[in-house]
Amino acid sequence: MKRPFRVRGGRLRVDLEPEVLELLSGIPDLLENVGGDGDPATRRLAPVAHPGDPAAARAYDELTDAELARARNVDRAGFVSSLEAVRTRRELDIEEADMWLRVIGEARLVLGARLGILEDGWEADAGADPRYAILGYLGYLQEDLVHALNRLMFGGG
């Protein structure tokens, strides 16, 4: 199988089937619908920074919540536009690839939280549940992209 992300001549080549691009294009909707007290994904994406100190934790949230939301919107917008562009240009620059890593990673965290995955080793008994399959597949893409970005940013594997 061809690797989805490859470094050639200092550039990041993307080789993804249209069906995969279609699957990825559903991620922003998934992320935008995270919310509410009943959604275990909410806190996973914004962990309590001061677990032993509710007042400090609230102050931290007040300081960072808006900025975190803004940064994630920038990531999603960059993901959406580069996802569209990659259909023809078949390349990502470092900044775009970095956004892809975060957006795909966030999607995995949301799926994992909603599936109630709390312990290591879940891959072994994930069974045939398609949600686990998507989690695993997004992990495969993220892993490959990490290796490509390592080469581009740090010159190693």
């Binding site: 962990p47 900025e67 290591d120 190693g156």
Partner: protein, 94 residues
Amino acid sequence: MTAPTPVAVPDVDERDDVDPGWNVVVWNDPVNLMSYVVFVFRKLFGYNVEKATKLMLAVHHEGRAIVAHGPLEKAELDCYRLHHHGLWATLEQA
């Protein structure tokens, strides 16, 4: 070859007595990829691959690791950047 004459240098910055600072702690989670966690430590903190890998393995095997340390404002910024990258980070007084 030669070596410089040893000079006694205190290990601990005396300012630490006044404010011990804050630790940035990353906790194990079952979903983030090990390779991604190493990447994030290298990117955010400039650690080399050996140090970043050692910290990732400490998180994985011991459940948590202190990945950075500093005054509260810097520690909170580091924590925020880790949250932005999807890592489970918290703060504690050193």
